[in-house]
């Protein structure tokens, strides 16, 4: 794969939660509900775990296909599994 189409692995990430974003998303979707204090942090945690699981699944998919780069198909296949798992 050409380097221009790939995104290298992030070495540094922000540990900070985008709390405003999370609140806004929830308010946008469910305007009649409200989130209790610090619930957004738990939403963030849930999202974090979801992303973690998705990434692991995509990684294993890529490794099974002997691909050094995570491709769109790998993410798609992983998302099918993980979204089903993370149903409420």
């Amino acid at each position: 794969m050409a380097l221009s189409t790939t995104v290298s692995q992030k070495k540094l990430i922000k540990r900070k939660a985008p709390r405003g974003f999370l609140k806004r998303v929830f308010k946008q979707r469910k305007p009649h509900l409200r989130l209790e204090t610090n619930s957004d942090l738990l939403v963030h945690l849930n999202c974090l775990l979801f992303v973690h699981r998705l990434a692991e699944e995509a990684r294993t998919n890529a490794c099974e296909n002997k691909c050094g780069v995570i491709k769109k198909e790998h993410v798609l296949a992983a998302a099918k599994v993980i979204l089903k798992k993370s149903r409420g």
């Binding site: 189409t5 540990r15 946008q28 509900l33 945690l45 849930n46 992303v51 780069v69 995570i70 979204l83």
Partner: protein, 563 residues
Amino acid sequence: MADSYSRDSEPTTRTLLRRVLDTADPRTPRRPRSARTDVQRALLQTPSSRRLRSQTKTTARRCSNRARSVDRLAHVQASGHLEEQTPRTLLKNILLTAPESSILMPESVVKPVLAPQVVQASRRESGRGSLELQLPELEPPTTLAPGLLALGRRKQRLRLSVFQQGVDLGLPPSQEPHGNADASSLTSSLNLTFATPLQTQSVKRPGLARRPPTRRAVDVGTLLQDLRDTSLALAPPDTVLEDTQPFSQPLVGRSASVHHSLPCRSHSGAKDVERAASRRTWSSGLGLQNNGAGKAAQLLAGKVEEVDALAMGFPNISSNISGEDGVEPLQNGVGEEAEERMEESLREVEKAAEAQGSARAEELEGHIEVTEAEGSWGAVEAKEPEGSSGDEDTSGRTASPELASSTPEFLRARRLQFLEPAPPPSTAVLPSEPPEPLLARLPPKPRIPGSRPRQDPYKTGLNHYAKLFSFYAKMPMEKKAVEMVEKCLDKYFQHLCDDLEVFAAHAGRKTVRPEDLELLMRRQGLVSDQVSLHVLVERHLPLEYRQQLIPCAFSGNTVFPAQ
């Protein structure tokens, strides 16, 4: 021998050798001498076994002869004792030993023989030439292939003088007698400085392609100089500079110095006196000021390209930099810092100009003119600030009363100077200035619209989690995959919000509480009996969030967050 070789046009060695044998004397008169030398050589060279035998001279001769003959016999059989040392015998032996029908080999042998001799001949001819001819000759062989040496030499001669003459005459380059080239070597070396760009442009050879960039860079400078020279009608010093220009290394600095020396050169006498007077007062503070100028230059180094060039080429760096500094902040038009720097640099400009004037006054007049002009240039540049922003200058004056006494005279004098030769410098300064504002003002412009078109905040939030994905994946991923991840996240949030709504509705609430989220995570399989929500929080969230989520006892018998 060599001449006979070179005269021969036929390629085979056999014919060559035969002709040599035919033309040469049957008996060379110096044969005995050569024998003696051979003996001496043998004395020097022979191994120890021979040395033992060669105790006396006579015996040495015989022995060495014998030894020689033995050696010969080893190589070539049937050679007489008398004929051993002569080159004739050598050639004959070669003829004997060489194969009769030599079609391919001899040609390959002959070529290297011929080429060096042509080279030698050309060297001999070029040796007659003066040093000026040889200096340029030293450079090109790097570009030439070693096999083409002989041809290359001739072409170099072409490049030096003949080609230029041909260009002048409007004739295609032709090989002229070498004597002519040698005769015109002096003039050609002088003319080289002017004509080299032409030659490089016309001679389109890949080997010579290294040269052009530098010379074109020179061309711009010379062009500007020529323009200014014509505008100012000041021939003598500039011509001197131009002569030395193509050979001098710091071309940019030179040209810059010349282009600084635009406005006024004729005014030197009265101001020199003034500066000499003022320098005594300022000499104490000069060192510090120069240092400050250097620091300011370091600060502005990113913006100023020309400063670097000047610093490379020029001995008196600080003054130039200070002059530049006076200009740059203004052009940038930055706020307060720029004003502060402005004041400082203005003072520095003035002081430096004064100091230069006084210092150079003691030296040669030619140097005076150049440095003078620089000082005046700085002053001219410093005047523009005054026109644009007078208050800053006034503040600078009030801040330093000493300056207030000296600067007005100085600047008034400058103004007078500026007014007197007003028409030519205005035309001359203008072409010099555009590059600087372009360089200085272009970078900020992209910065102003540099604030990216605000993305959808939802997108940025999703991108945040996509970055987390690429961190957890520990692998490089495609951009399409990133887009896919964002899509998944979008779907995930949709599900999440729906689930939370259902849970809250089931509990008869309109508020989503942490219990709902815990339930959700339990249903998702993230929280189990073994792994509690607090464990997950501790694992994945930073401390400040953990403190907000997990109840903890604090001093004063309190628990935060309260349960």
